[in-house]
Amino acid sequence: MFRFLLRKLRLAQQFKENATPSAGYRLHKSLEENIALFRAELGESPDVAIRRFTLNLKKGIKAAIIFVEGLMDQQVVYDCILHPLMIEAKKETWTVDSDLLGFIQENLITASGLAQEDRFPPLVDAVLGGDTVLLIDGQTAALVVSTKNWEKRAIEEPDTEVTIMGPRDGFTEDLRTNTALLRRKINYPGLVFEQMVIGRRTRTTVVVAYVQGIANEKIVEEVKARLKRINTDMILDANYLTEFITDAPFSPFPTIAYTERPDVAAARLLEGRVAVLVNNTPTILMMPSLFIEAFQSPDDYNDHFLYATFIRWLRYLAFLMSFLLPALFVALTSYHQELIPTPLLISMAAAVEGTPFPVVIEVVAMGAVFEIIREAGVRLARPIGQTISIVGALVIGEAVVSAGLVAAPTVIVVALTAITSFVVPKQQEIAIILRLTLAVLAGILGAYGIIIGLLFTLAHLASLRSFGVPYFSPVIPLQVGDLKDVAVRAPLWAMWTRPQALEGQDSKRQNFGERVPSSIAAEEPDRPPSAPGKRKKEEKNRKK
């Protein structure tokens, strides 16, 4: 019975598929029939405009242009198509040979992008993509005039990745703008863009970008192959792609990085990575991505390297705190009190006295409350969001302690954790997951639970790969050369190789440690004038 139904359904589907016209069918000779074809395909949508006119070349020939309003430039359509065909054509005395379309193409239409097309489906795609299609009665081909232009957001500084110094431009939703931004950063012919269309219904344009001669070709091929294998009907955002092509779909660790900043993208491209730009999204995907990348901020490279190194270490510390602190707190207070220095232990015991719940529950509950406050604040209009955070932080935090529901140390720990988790925003989601699991584990098994959780995480991290590159490198497996941008932020002239983990080509950026020496002679000589005398003394000593 069931199977019968299934077969019926499948038959019906096949029938439907047969009913839709096959991919390659062509235009008719008659203009009216062609217009009817378009109407059948695009429906009576009000934004699809069909403008009929008479082509005033010798005798009047019927013609029509089809475009989607809002996706094209009215001015261009008027200047480059309608005006020449209707007005200019009348003035001149042309001698038209048999190839009417070719003639119009060469002599009349002044738009920069122009192509002939005789198959129907590409024409529909062109119209939907913002181009204008010119149909002429009696011709079995049409002209596609490039008139794409739509409302775009201006280039702004991205809100998600704010820097203090450095360039302020950010990617926008428009693919062309984004590729242009990248081109402006890397003015080198090796920067390659390869385009493909993904998503059966959204037909999203996706561009794979890499620098030829630097990127590992195997990785580039792998990225393209994975993108091609995606079979879905909608790609609305870069993350839609990520989830389809990521190496470890169940892992909470992101093995594909994202950025909204052209300078970051350009730097990554020049390290040998592949970028994927998705139309209609301001975020750009970059792969392969390493765990450590989240700790590298563009500001690191705009500041003095000593300061940048210091800040980077602070970031590591903050990240460790953001997932370890609650767990350690729970383990210390409920299992290993002996590790807490005695005076501190006494004051903590005094604070904890009278609170009804075990520390684990306090920590987990307060952590959850914090996440709720954050979530409530994030998606609201900004002024209301601020009110929420004030109510949450001050009122709840204060009241909960004075009511004796939660001990004050717990609130301190949770608040500290909350702040530290924002230091490394790109690994924030993992920090939240790890924090809660570790806190629960610590509540059950104390420090042993933490060790178990950490080992598990470490094993997972060690086994993860991003497009063949070990995710936790260069720490494990250790690649000493790559530590120059991980353990410290070496001065730029000392970062003479690209990351070895990516196994790109041409790994050398510049000669080792080659700086620009000062061409102005130093005013004071390196050697004090008394030096020769000293040397003589030394010689004397030697003789003795």
Binding site: I452, L455, L458, H460
Partner: protein
């Protein structure tokens, strides 16, 4: 490397010869290197083959299988032993109230996960933990300076040579000879030619850190140390710098615990892989959890109390382990030489 370290760190070698134990340690190192020789030679002779495969080529299918079963049993026993030690350690020092099976089950989960991910992941995690451990040992070395008493090492040479030799022999088999397990793993080293070097470096490094640890422990505890079952733990307990850094015993013990995980993982991995190769299976992965469960059961059933354990270590272990550590590889090597295996042609 960590394989040797972990157990040794918790159980400093040998009761009885307390302040001269550093000498036994050096002796153990020398012995360990001697013991490792036949293995590494074997592995160099049969590049890319595990002990199980070597056994089969050298002794023929039937006897080879017997040897292999014995080796697998030894690895299994080692893993169970290590597991048992750590469970005992946990239940007696830190978590006196928690039932044992809680530890063994969580233990099994993590170890099983590590093993399923393969030797590469185990090695990488190990690398990471090793660095942390080295830092911690060196760091705590500085912290105990204020309670460190050099007099605790006196008098030197207070024991007879025979006692020293006996103790050294024990050290050879107990932490240092456990490299049999590596016989199963050496073929997976990236650079095959360096197998011997890797093992030696590992042994020396381990000995160095055991030594540091031992010096710390003896220096801090002095004669007292004899009465503790886990002296290292006690030594860190004595740390007290100002009012802040007090009683840090939890931290080193947790690190050692993590290393213990690695040790058991390696043993479990070796046992599973060995079984898989013994039965000519395509993959060892499905065997990880069953063997793991068996190992946990064995760990629970290995000794009724720590006294039996100590008796085992002192009286039986050296003899029991000897065939696995020295006899088998020597025999295999001998047989290989006599039978001219592998032929020169085969090697090319």
């Amino acid at each position: 490397m960590s394989f040797v370290m972990t157990t040794g760190l918790i159980f400093p070698p040998l009761q009885g010869l307390w302040h001269d134990s550093w000498m036994t340690l050096l002796l153990g190192l020398a012995g360990g290197i001697v013991f490792a020789l036949p293995y590494t030679t074997l592995c160099l002779r049969f590049p890319g083959k595990t002990l199980i495969e070597i056994h089969e080529t050298v002794f023929g299918p039937v006897i080879g299988k017997l040897f292999s079963v014995a080796s697998i049993w030894y690895t299994f026993h080692l893993g169970a032993q290590a597991g048992a030690i750590f469970i005992t350690f946990l239940t007696t020092t830190i978590f006196t109230m928690t039932p044992r099976y809680v530890f063994s089950v969580t233990w099994l989960l993590v170890v099983g996960y590590l093993c399923k991910k393969g030797i590469e992941v185990i090695a990488r995690v190990n690398e990471m933990l090793l660095v942390v451990t080295v830092f911690l040992i060196v760091g705590t070395g500085f912290l105990v300076l204020n309670i460190f008493k050099i007099e605790n090492f006196l008098p030197l040479w207070s024991i007879s040579l025979s006692d020293l030799l006996r103790a050294g022999f024990g050290t050879i088999t107990f932490p240092f000879g456990q490299n049999v397990v590596f016989g199963l793993l050496l073929p997976f080293l990236h650079e095959r030619g360096q197998a011997r070097k890797a093992v030696f470096m590992g042994l020396c490094g381990a000995a160095l850190f055991l030594l540091i640890n031992l010096v710390i422990t003896v220096g801090v505890l002095g004669e007292l140390g004899k009465i503790f079952i886990f002296p290292t733990h006690q030594a860190f307990r004595m740390i007290s710098i100002g009012q802040v850094m007090t009683r840090l015993e939890l931290i080193p013990s947790l690190i050692f615990l993590a290393m213990g995980f690695i040790k058991v993982s390696i043993a479990l991995y070796a046992a599973s892989l060995g079984t898989a190769q013994l039965c000519k299976l395509q993959t060892y992965r499905p065997l990880v959890f069953p063997i793991g469960v068996l190992m946990v059961i064995a760990a629970h059933q290995i000794y009724p109390n720590i006294g039996v354990r100590l008796e085992m270590v002192e009286r039986v272990q050296p003899i029991y382990a000897l065939p696995f550590q020295l006899l088998f590889p020597l025999l295999a090597l001998l047989a290989a030489v006599l039978r001219r295996l592998p032929g020169k042609e085969g090697q090319a």
